[in-house]
């Protein structure tokens, strides 16, 4: 049914990474779209990216009519995102028209219309054969006007005119009190309305996007987190949570016979997810590094998220037990990404992960530890995020390994992370330190391994200069 809809309803790419998925194909072609949000939420950038990507990827020239920033300011502001407006202007692919309105100069002396604006816009569109238009922020016209009745009907006419002109337009609007835009533009643009939001929750800034309305089209209804970075705006599509991913029966190894042999098939399934739990200092990171190196030896790239150690520290520490991560980093097989969990919101981390995955195309992803992400959000959010994360990894057939720091509790099932992750994970390895005769004894226990038998007792091990060794009695 959805496919039929797409056929009868032409859409055009939004130029925003991830948004085409959410809107099932993009913006309605040749219709106006309203983007609203409060100051600083990224409206202008959103609109500019729509134009620039339209030019670069769809070869659709664009007109940017700016009611606020000057052409020079705009060029400067988006340069950091790699958008070279001046070059696009030179190529006659982009036209920026700054509409400057000096309120102090203006006197209203009778009935007026916006025909002058229409003519300018029409001229700009025709001069480069534009297919995309941005009006940012058309509501500025209302500022300081005594009589807005004429203006309102003219704005309505403007939207109709844009439709008739056959351009896909983005109109931005400032969020009003109790309404989407200050002057109720949403009443006029009835096809597609998108709300951008910028919130601070627990001192962490989160940007979110929501499709308020999209007439005649199915669309995602959730709030989607989005990120503004050096590549512009990207939205994280929440993949539909379908359990229809492939399940390979090939096996992968830890490159540690001692561990592999604990599993009935001498390894774990490719594309499965593994959870390693343990209290502080139980060698979770070491085991994760073995897993990473095993992947490197198979020439399968690894993305290692380290939330507690910097890449250099991780490399140095593991070298002391003979694990050489650096040469893998140099060979581009291992990519270590370190950041403080509290630096960004939970979803931003997921988005970063998503982006790095697209860029690096890893076959193995390690998150060390996943429990530090959990401190960032509340538990329902965390669970939703983990499900999304697992799904994303599964769909891509990525071997996933998460470590999780558990508190020193009798019952680790009460631990938030363990509760959230353990049921989702395919394999679960628990590491512990037990005090035996005034000595800490390291233990490893396989709690679960979906789809295969496993050794079900505790094994003692030690970490020596040569690495991981099982202690045989």
């Amino acid at each position: 049914m959805i496919h039929d809809q797409i056929k009868v309803f032409p859409k055009t790419s939004t130029g925003i990474s991830g948004l085409d998925e959410i809107t099932n194909g993009g913006f309605p072609k040749n219709r106006p779209v309203l983007i609203c949000g409060s100051a600083g939420c990224g409206k202008t950038l959103f609109a500019m990216q729509f134009l620039v990507k339209g030019i670069l990827e769809e070869n659709e020239p664009g007109v940017f009519m700016s009611f606020e920033e000057t052409s020079a300011d705009l060029s400067q502001n988006v340069r950091s995102l790699g958008f070279d407006l001046e070059e696009l202007k030179k190529q006659k692919k982009l036209k920026v028209d700054h509409v400057r309105i000096e309120r102090s100069e203006i006197e209203e002396t009778g009935e007026y219309d916006l025909e002058a604006l229409f003519i300018r816009l029409n001229y700009a569109i025709d001069s480069i054969g534009a297919k995309r238009v941005v009006l940012d922020t058309v509501e500025s016209l209302f500022t300081g006007m005594e009589n807005s009745v004429w203006l309102r009907s003219e704005i309505r006419r403007l939207f109709q005119w844009l439709k008739d002109k056959g351009v896909t337009a983005i109109i931005t609007g400032e969020r009003g009190e109790g309404s989407l835009t200050r002057h109720g533009l949403e009443e006029y643009v009835s096809d597609c309305v998108i709300l951008l939001d910028f919130r601070i929750i627990d001192q962490i800034a989160t940007r979110r996007l929501r499709i308020v309305k999209y007439r005649g089209s199915t669309h995602g209804t959730n709030e989607y987190p989005f990120l503004i970075d050096e590549d512009g705006i990207s939205v994280l599509p929440v993949t539909s949570l379908k359990l229809d991913y492939k399940s390979p029966s090939e096996l992968i190894s830890f490159n540690l016979p001692a561990i592999d042999n604990l599993f009935a098939k001498r390894g774990i399934y490719k594309g499965s997810s593994t959870l390693i739990t343990g209290t502080a200092g139980t060698a979770k990171t070491i085991l994760a590094s073995y897993f990473a190196l095993a992947s490197c030896h198979r020439k399968e790239p690894v993305l290692y998220f380290s939330f507690e150690e910097s890449p250099e520290q991780l490399i140095r520490n593991l070298l002391t037990i003979g694990l050489d991560l650096r040469s893998q980093v140099n060979d581009n097989l291992l990519h270590i990404h370190s950041s403080r969990p509290s630096l960004q919101g939970l979803e931003m981390h997921l988005l970063t992960l998503h982006k790095l995955m697209a860029e690096f195309k890893p076959k193995t992803v390690i998150i060390d530890p996943i429990s530090s992400l959990i401190t960032v959000g509340n538990s329902s959010e965390v669970r939703a995020m983990l499900v999304r994360l697992m799904d994303m990894l599964k769909v891509n057939e990525v071997n996933a390994l998460f470590t999780s720091l558990t508190q020193n509790k009798e019952n680790f099932y009460s631990d938030t992370t363990v509760e959230a992750v353990s049921s989702l994970a395919d394999n679960w390895i628990d590491l512990s330190n037990v005090n035996e005769q005034n000595k800490w004894q390291r233990n490893i226990l396989i709690i679960k391994a979906r789809g295969m038998g496993h050794f079900n007792g505790q094994k003692k091990f030690l970490i020596a200069d040569s690495g991981f060794q099982l202690v045989e009695k």
Binding site: V99, R100, E107, E108, G110, E111, D113, L114, A116, I119
Partner: protein, 105 residues
């Protein structure tokens, strides 16, 4: 001020005006009539009035930042003013153009 009263007015210097209209639209025609009447019947002294059709000169309209139509720009004497609308509110027009009744202090 009543349009038909025979009041003479002066500006503080030579008036330089540009009226931007959108073709033959109703508001444009009313504006042209209003400004012509004011200048021809009531203004004593030098003035320069140029009527520009935005349709024919979209470039010029963009340069002068014309958004509303019709728009009357007073370039001189300074300060620059933009009078938008069909110029039917004569008192506002007179005030914005800085005109004074001749002989009045």
């Amino acid at each position: 001020m009543n349009k038909d009263e025979n009041i003479k007015m002066v500006a503080e210097g030579k008036l330089v005006l540009q009226l931007y209209v959108s073709g033959m639209s109703a508001n444009s025609m009313v504006a042209i009539e209003n400004i012509k009447h004011l200048c021809d019947e009531h203004l004593e002294g030098a003035f320069q009035l140029e009527i520009i059709d935005i349709y024919k000169n979209p470039d010029l309209a963009a340069e002068e930042h014309i958004v509303f139509s019709p728009s009357l720009i007073k370039h001189f004497p300074l300060p620059r003013k933009t009078l938008i609308g069909n110029l039917s509110d004569t008192d506002k027009v007179v005030k914005a153009l800085g005109l004074k009744i001749k002989g009045a202090s």
